[in-house]
């Protein structure tokens, strides 16, 4: 009888269970816990979780609120600093040269077979399809 060392077996189980987690690491992100971010960002779109963009992207977004993807989203300087600090301290990974979450490679990959149809006006409306998106839960597709 061939005996599989317990450690190897445990490692194999761990790898197997870790794999889906790695593939879908953006399906569960920590929710927004900063009231100013919730209020100001959440006024025009869902307050996206800081983990959905890298710090460089957040910095560039907070630098350009006067022309925020075509809309004026200006805020007083103290509010900008406050929100910037929260977003960058809790930022995720990704391409810092891309400003839109919807342009990040993982996002494009996850949504490559999805069509908005009549469900949502844009991919920025996460909750149109992901009911618990505001709580950072995106598994329900």
């Amino acid at each position: 009888m061939i005996r599989i060392p317990a450690l190897t077996a445990a490692a194999a189980v761990l790898c197997l269970s870790a794999l889906p987690g790695l593939a879908n690491e953006m399906e569960r992100v920590p929710p927004v816990t900063h009231p100013a971010t919730q209020k100001e960002c959440g006024e025009c779109h869902m307050a996206f979780q800081p983990g959905l963009l890298p710090a460089q992207s957040w910095n560039r977004i907070m630098d350009g609120l006067a022309d925020h993807f075509g809309d004026n989203a200006s805020l007083p300087a103290d509010a900008v600093a406050d929100i910037r600090a929260y977003l960058t301290a809790n930022a995720g990974r990704g391409d810092g040269t891309l400003l839109r979450i919807t342009e990040q490679r993982w996002f494009v990959h996850e949504h490559r077979k999805r069509h908005l149809g009549n469900r949502a006006k844009s991919f920025a409306d996460c909750q149109a399809c992901h009911q618990d998106a505001a709580r950072g839960l995106y598994e329900d597709d």
Binding site: D71, L75, A120, K121
Partner: protein, 144 residues
Amino acid sequence: MKRLSSACAAAALLLTAGAALPARADAARDAILTAYAAEAQREDSGFTGFDAARGRALYMGPHTGGKAETPACATCHTPDPTRSGQHQKTGRSIDPMAVSANPARFTNATDVEKRFSRDCPAVLGRACTAREKGDFITYLTGKP
């Protein structure tokens, strides 16, 4: 007995708070309107007061000069301000503009100014005057 009395105290507190909240909101809205009236007076010495009908016309539009996608306040806030609106681009739900449906409207001066400073250029292509702001709030405060 002690529990009963504290429960009564809590109930009394709730009652007074419930009665005080709309009153405080109304006072805050009145203060915002008073400030806009003073500013409107400075802008135009002939200013005689705000007008709900002018506010309604401003709300309904359509206007030119702003963004093509947003020719009126009603574009996003819908022609019935007692209903929830929807952000033109993102689809985000917007709470009703009419005070009758949303008593928290126009109770925070900073927020009110922020919205006018963003939305007037998007709809009209320019800033709103103090008179326009007051007309707008007057219309939406009186709308049943």
